[in-house]
């Protein structure tokens, strides 16, 4: 709703990729206000949005899903983005909706981001099939880690050119903008999610398998992504150790795309989507090796979903995307709620929202209640961790 960004893309090297009739812009932006995006623009552009969505869908011979990509902290993405999400649900109820949501860091530039995020969270919990939460701070940490590695390269650990997940490998490169490196990580995430549906492999994973395998209960659909390797070393002497390292890294704190520690929380389910020259025996070896160190919920002790796609990403021999349905998202949500409450107790900035036609204070309280109940659901599962749960008594057969 602020045409600058879209115009910039249209002048950039990717202008050919986008269909100019499918753009929708306004001039004034949403002022980092969820209500403006969700309600004002949501109402004003409803027809146009639906039209464009239908048109885009008509061009597909098999519509497999929608990717919705937006930040949680601003006004347009979080407000209008979640509006689009519910429009999609109305228009295409059976097509899956996968949201990549950028969560604000603690020191965020947007003061109202806690409001916007909590208001948007409710929409995501109710209308998305899966949400892949990504935190800018985590992206930044990964970018810095790679840069340090690239600058201080010791002999023997030189990074292969164009093999990091922050370089726009294969894409068009121009002068770098501040978010470019970080956004490339997100782009790689989306590439890897869809790779198995696009390329052949010995164990394919279509888009609809992700929610089916990873979402045991409708609202618990937040899947923490991690990508490995972050780069490929130019030295290729120890391939199989590097392969196993890739699997280990996927579970480490510093490879997650949100600040979270899955290993010390509880897994409800986990997907490993592998690309490149990796066989089923490599998968088995690594699952068996890692399983004892990872806590899984009692009714899903073997909660692994795996995919093998034979085509690796450009610049790599293999790669791994892990998606974890894990209670480690809870601290992020709790922190968000705290920051929300800090503002809300003082009624800070509230009037900017309540001015907006259709916005009521009850939407705030309902949104935070929705978030609280989500946190409680994760809490309940966390509490079951380590407790010995007896197997359910089996059905008995009269003989």
């Amino acid at each position: 709703m602020e045409e600058g960004v879209v115009n910039e893309i249209l002048q950039g090297p990717l202008r050919e990729v986008f269909d100019s009739t499918q753009l929708l812009t306004d001039v004034s932006g949403s002022g980092n206000n969820w209500a403006v995006g969700h309600l004002t623009y949501g109402l004003a552009y409803r027809e146009q949005i639906v039209d464009k969505l239908r048109r885009a869908a008509e061009h597909c011979d098999c519509l497999q899903g929608f990717f919705i990509i937006h930040s949680m902290g601003g006004g347009t993405g979080s407000g209008l983005g979640t509006r689009v999400l519910s429009l999609l649900e109305e228009e295409f109820p059976s097509v899956s909706r996968i949201v990549t949501a950028i969560y604000p860091s603690t020191e965020d530039d947007v003061i109202t981001s806690p409001y916007n995020s909590v208001l948007a969270m409710r929409e995501l919990s109710e209308h998305a099939d899966c949400v892949l939460p990504v935190e800018n701070q985590s992206l930044l940490d990964i970018v810095n880690k790679i840069k340090v590695m690239a600058d201080g390269a010791k002999p023997g650990s030189v990074i292969k050119r164009d093999s990091t997940i922050i370089s726009g490998q294969g894409g068009l490169t121009g002068p770098e903008k501040p978010f470019d490196a970080m956004n490339n990580i997100v782009a790689n995430l989306l590439l890897n999610i869809t790779s198995s549906a696009r390329f052949e492999g010995s164990l394919n994973t279509d888009l609809n398998e992700i929610a089916m395998n990873l979402v045991p209960f409708p609202r618990l659909h937040y899947l923490v992504p991690s990508l490995t390797p972050l780069y490929t070393l130019a030295d290729v002497s120890v391939p199989s150790r590097r392969l196993d390292q890739m699997f280990s890294d996927a579970f480490n704190k510093d490879h997650q795309l949100i600040r979270a520690d899955p290993k010390h929380s509880l897994y409800l389910a986990c997907a490993l989507m592998v690309r490149g020259n990796v066989q089923v025996s490599d998968l088995r070896r690594n699952i068996e090796r890692l399983r004892p160190t990872l806590p899984f919920v009692s009714w899903n002790q073997e909660g692994w979903k795996t995919g093998l796609c034979s085509v690796p990403p450009v610049g790599h021999s293999h790669s791994l995307l892990a998606l974890a349905n894990n209670t480690c998202v809870k601290p992020t949500f709790i922190e968000l709620r705290e920051r929300f409450n800090k503002l809300y107790r003082k009624k800070a900035h509230l009037h900017h929202y309540l001015h907006v036609e259709g916005m009521e204070q009850s939407l705030f309280s309902e949104a935070v209640a929705s978030l609280s109940s989500l946190i409680d659901e994760y809490q309940l599962l966390d509490a079951s961790k380590g407790r010995l749960t007896p197997d359910a008594a089996r059905l008995s057969i009269a003989t």
Binding site: Q64, L203, D206, N208, A392
Partner: protein, 439 residues
């Protein structure tokens, strides 16, 4: 007589393609005219240009797997798939049995049934239908179950067997146990016999017996295909009076699935070794059969790590520790000196349930043509307690998950209710109980 195969889903198609490859190369190996003719008639028909075309229908809800199978078969240039006998859509069933069974099944029923009908009409005489699939995904398991039901209706008097691949126990599909329960419970009502390969077991054979370092699905599938080939290729059967038997499916079912409560068949074979070692090994029938017999009674699927302590219980008593009791066994011997082999070790009444006399419980097929590089080889198809433990694990894990109702909403969305799950559990508990109480 001929067999029409239906390959369903990724697994079913990949296994099926490997199977036809094994069948074709075995039939065309060396001087074996009669054997070749019968094998080819059984599994292939000849096109106008004299080329072999598999009697198979390929089905998947996504295009990639079938495209690869078809092009691989064409590339090997010994045989191919018929150009109009494959059916695929754009997106898979998403590992959701309900999606395959309730949505894709009814939607594509007509097209697919018509394809099968065309294959059946190409056969001079039909020995039976064989559906190959995994139980863990959505297409093979869900659509496969639906199609088996349709075929049962369309061919009420033909034999229908299912070849099922059971998933690795540490999963690749998280809802695999649900999908397995729903599949097995229904197939138990529909199928004449259910032949099972467990991925865990076959994987072990690849690593421990065949010494393969990086095991791929194609290695696993090759082992499965070879074991199936050992069963399905021509042989002299008990009733074939010195000729090659005409109807493998028919005789397989009547030898092994004599009681509707018991129709789970497992397969083991001997020898299995890297081809580089074959030349340096001599085989004797008594040695091979002694191993195979102990594999049977101690329920080991490999000739390595056999527990030689296990013995059939003497006297009454249902169980001996670790003893695997059989309902019926089919022993298939191929290669040199088959006619003079002694198979009485498999005839002992103590191996079998008390209600079926051991002369009926054991069938032996023989064929002097060696199979797959082995001068002598034996395949055992067994209707026994061998699959009891893995079946029990599948049901236990599914039941545990069901107790918390996890993932159930995904099935309800497509029309499978909690009640349907309970019916499935009940049916399989019954099967488990029957096999447990075998004596």
């Amino acid at each position: 007589m001929s067999v029409v195969s239906v390959q369903l889903g990724q697994c079913g198609n990949q296994v099926g393609q490997e199977l036809f490859d094994v069948l074709c190369s075995d039939a065309q190996d060396g001087q074996r005219n009669k054997y070749r003719a019968i094998s080819c008639e059984r599994f292939f028909h000849q096109t106008d240009r004299g080329e072999l075309e598999a009697r198979a229908v390929l089905i998947d809800m996504e295009p990639k797997v079938i495209n690869r199978c078809v092009s691989r078969a064409t590339k090997c240039s010994r045989w191919s798939y018929g150009s109009s006998s494959h059916f695929s859509q754009k997106q898979g069933s998403g590992n959701n049995w309900a999606n395959g069974f309730c949505v894709h099944g009814p939607r594509h029923r007509d097209v697919v049934e018509e394809m099968v009908r065309r294959e059946v009409e190409r056969c001079d005489r039909l020995s039976g239908l064989m559906a190959l699939m995994s139980v863990a995904g959505g297409t093979g398991s869900g659509f496969g179950t639906y199609l088996t039901q349709c075929l049962r209706d369309a061919y009420p008097t033909s034999f229908i067997i299912n070849h099922l691949t059971w998933p690795y126990s540490t999963g690749e599909v998280i809802v695999q146990n649900y999908n397995s329960v729903l599949t097995l419970a229904r197939l138990y009502q529909l199928s004449d016999a259910i032949v099972v390969h467990e991925n865990d077991t076959v994987h072990k054979i690849c690593s421990q017996l065949l010494n393969i370092k990086h095991i791929s699905f194609s290695d696993v599938n090759r082992v499965i295909a070879q074991q199936l080939g050992g069963i399905l290729q021509p042989a002299f059967t008990t009733h074939s009076h010195g000729f090659y038997s005409r109807s493998p499916i028919d005789e397989l079912v009547s030898s092994l699935a004599c009681h509707p409560e018991y129709k789970l068949l497992s397969v083991s074979s001997i020898p299995q070794m890297p081809s580089s070692s074959i030349a340096f090994t001599t085989f004797s029938w008594p040695g091979l059969l002694k191993h195979l017999r102990q594999m049977l009674i101690s329920n080991t699927k490999m000739e390595e790590g056999i527990d030689w302590q296990v013995r059939p219980p003497s006297g009454a008593g249902c169980t001996g520790s670790g003893f695997n009791r059989s309902v019926a066994n089919l022993l298939i011997l191929r290669g040199k000196d088959v006619y003079s082999t002694e198979t009485s070790g498999f005839e002992e009444p103590s191996l079998y349930s008390s209600w079926l006399p051991s002369v009926e419980a054991l069938n032996v097929w023989k064929c002097p043509v060696p199979f797959h590089k082995y001068e002598k080889s034996a395949t055992l198809v067994s209707n026994s307690q061998a699959l009891l433990r893995p079946l029990d694990h599948i049901v236990a894990k599914a039941w545990n998950m069901f107790a918390s109702r996890a993932y159930i909403h995904q099935y309800i969305r497509y029309g499978i209710s909690e009640e349907d799950f309970l019916d499935g559990f009940t049916a399989l508990e019954q099967v488990i109980s029957s096999y447990k109480q075998l004596c």
